[in-house]
């Protein structure tokens, strides 16, 4: 889901960490096409597509929402991030140090590192679901927050520890392996979609002779819309669009990809991100979504659920109609309510509750479609993307404690990600988590944008920390903290969902940085000092 592997490698070799990339090292358009296409086909795509289905999205909303949202993401790379990257040719960290000062960058690194850890955790979770197919231990449910079986904990621990040690010992080896796996993985994702589509055609007996027939199947059977599964929020066009736009917000609006695009010859090379968006965040999401939609389509209420519904409602259902019909969110919700009432009445014990929500587990979904190849894809997709994520988190933490060994920091970071992966809440709530990730880091992107383009127009000093020698630019710091606080307030107290706060949040951060700089720089700068 992110795109800094090349640059991470270069940084690890100490290339241009604190200097502009020289012209001799600039890269052509093709370098960025391959990089973005490979890196946005990650293990987490296998969770995100199915979670859209769980959110009750309709075919029009998901298809058009993804087309528009991904276009906005590409435009953000092209017009927000790339123009600054190709003018300064500095890493985000060095650019931030010039603007914010060393101590504020340390805070940014902590936030970034922690979020990378959780993201890597969700990738380990995805890989662990493949082990569940082989070893058949109980796997977590859609609404589970905590680990639910010893087998699950052991599987996550095994994969997490393995990934951590490989990241610490052989980051470059895995990066090479990821390059080999990338084209193969894209085709396996495509195969998921083709096989999922055929499964629907056969299961529904649909005659397909035109694109219109396929679209009819999509809107009537695959993405039917309606209520979300219990515990999920309803997704509309706007949710899909903003999610597709902002799921990589830290990278484009948040300017993290300055580190990547500083190598681009031209700023329009930011358009290469379209390959990642429309391969990974369109084709792969829709393909993975089809697999989970088919699982839902094939699931019927079992005898227990049919008994529960027929015996506790007045002639609303019949056994045969229930057991022959498809499972629907309404049925699950009603059965859960009845079961909870029976527990409250003391009719059944709490541990005897059996109604659960169908869960999108990438391992079993991929195995059902493509067999062992699907399982290998799930493991490799999680592993090859968790590897650089753990490595990057390690780099972020190491910047805080420069004397600590890279090996120890990476191992510790990997183990932290492994512990996070044991809690399925992160992967099951991935849509919200990804939005939170963008929301936390987005204000610093606004600070970089304003500092580069606007500050001088207000008679203010850009790169203020570098010029003034400050190690903590309070204007940038307050813009970050206050924006985060305001966004949290909107989400918690005004009912605005997290998908929609980051857009106004960016403008708030930009305005705050200008206003506070007007006061802060005036107060600090000696009278008459030239701007």
């Amino acid at each position: 889901m992110s795109s800094e592997e090349n640059s991470s490698e270069q940084q690890s070799q100490g290339e241009f960490e604190r200097q502009a990339v020289p012209q001799s090292s600039w890269l052509g358009f093709r370098s960025f096409i391959g990089m973005y296409a490979g890196e946005h086909c990650a293990g987490t795509e296998l969770m995100i597509g199915p979670l859209f289905v769980a959110a009750g999205v309709s075919a029009f909303d998901v298809v058009v929402g993804l087309i528009v949202g991904n276009l906005l993401a590409v435009l953000s790379w092209m017009f927000l991030c790339a123009p600054i990257a190709t003018r300064t040719r500095l890493t985000l960290y060095y650019q931030l140090e010039k603007i914010c000062g060393r101590r504020l960058v340390i805070l940014y690194n902590i936030a970034n590192g922690v979020m990378f850890c959780f993201l890597a955790g969700s990738m380990i979770t995805v890989s662990a679901t493949a082990l569940g197919v082989w070893f058949k231990f109980p796997m977590p449910g859609l609404n589970d927050l905590y680990p639910n079986s010893v087998g699950w904990v052991i599987a996550v621990l095994a994969i997490g520890v393995l990934i951590s040690f490989v990241a610490a010992f052989g980051y470059k080896t895995v990066a090479k392996f990821a390059n080999i796996a990338a084209p193969w993985m894209v085709l396996v994702f495509l195969a998921f979609g083709l096989i999922g589509l055929r499964n629907f055609i056969v299961a529904t007996g649909t005659e397909v002779s035109s694109a219109g027939d396929v679209w009819g199947l999509c809107k009537d059977t695959i993405w039917k819309g309606g209520d979300p599964l219990p515990g999920q929020i309803k997704f509309t066009f706007w949710h899909v669009m903003f999610f597709a736009w902002f799921c990589n917000m830290a990278m484009h609006v948040g300017m993290s990809d300055l580190t990547v695009l500083r190598f681009a010859k031209k700023s329009w090379y930011g358009s290469a991100s379209a390959t990642g968006m429309y391969v990974g965040h369109f084709m792969a999401w829709l393909a993975a979504a089809m697999l989970f939609a088919f699982q839902l389509h094939q699931t019927h209420p079992d005898q227990y659920m049919a008994d529960l519904l027929t015996q506790n409602t007045t002639a609303k259902y019949t056994q045969s109609a229930l057991m022959d019909g498809p499972m629907s969110p309404d049925l699950i919700r009603e059965a859960m309510e009845i079961e909870a009432q029976l527990v409250a009445d003391g009719t059944i014990a709490k541990e005897d509750m059996k109604i659960s929500v169908p869960t999108p587990l990438p391992g079993p979904l991929a195995y059902g479609a493509c067999g062992i190849t699907g399982l290998i894809c799930v493991i490799i997709a999680g592993w090859t993307t968790a590897n650089p994520t753990i490595y990057r988190a390690g780099l972020a933490f190491q910047a805080i404690i420069p004397k600590a060994s890279r090996f120890k920091v990476t191992i510790a970071t990997g183990l932290l990600a492994t512990v996070a992966a044991m809690f399925p809440a992160i992967a099951m709530k991935l849509l919200g988590f990804v939005m939170l990730y963008g929301m936390i880091l987005m204000p610093m992107g606004a600070v970089v944008f304003v500092d580069f383009w606007l500050l001088k127009k207000f008679g203010l000093q850009s790169n203020y920390a570098e010029v003034s020698g400050k190690t903590f630019n309070w204007a940038a710091g307050l813009a970050w903290f206050l924006t985060f606080g305001v966004c949290c307030y909107f989400v918690k107290y005004t009912g605005i969902q997290i998908f929609f706060v980051s857009l106004p949040g960016w403008f708030i951060a930009a305005a705050l940085y200008i206003c506070i700089s007007l006061i802060y720089q005036k107060k600090i700068r000696p009278t008459g000092q030239e701007v």
């Binding site: 090479k176 080999i180 193969w184 085709l187 096989i195 055929r198 062992i372 290998i376």
Partner: protein, 56 residues
């Protein structure tokens, strides 16, 4: 040798996706699809490693 490895690896990618397309058209069984995909996967990783591993 490298040229042969390249050729085989690209053919294996075609063989990886072709069964899924044939399955969509109703011309292949799912079990066969899974088997061909697995063989193509092994061939891809072996032959692609021969010419891609050394690349920076």
């Amino acid at each position: 040798m490298i040229l042969v490895a390249k050729l085989i690896s690209w053919i294996s990618l075609v063989a990886l996706i072709a069964p899924a397309i044939l399955f969509l058209m109703g011309r292949m069984e799912l079990d066969q699809v899974k088997m061909v995909m697995l063989i193509s996967t092994v061939v891809w990783f072996v032959t692609a490693a021969m010419w891609m591993w050394g690349k920076e």
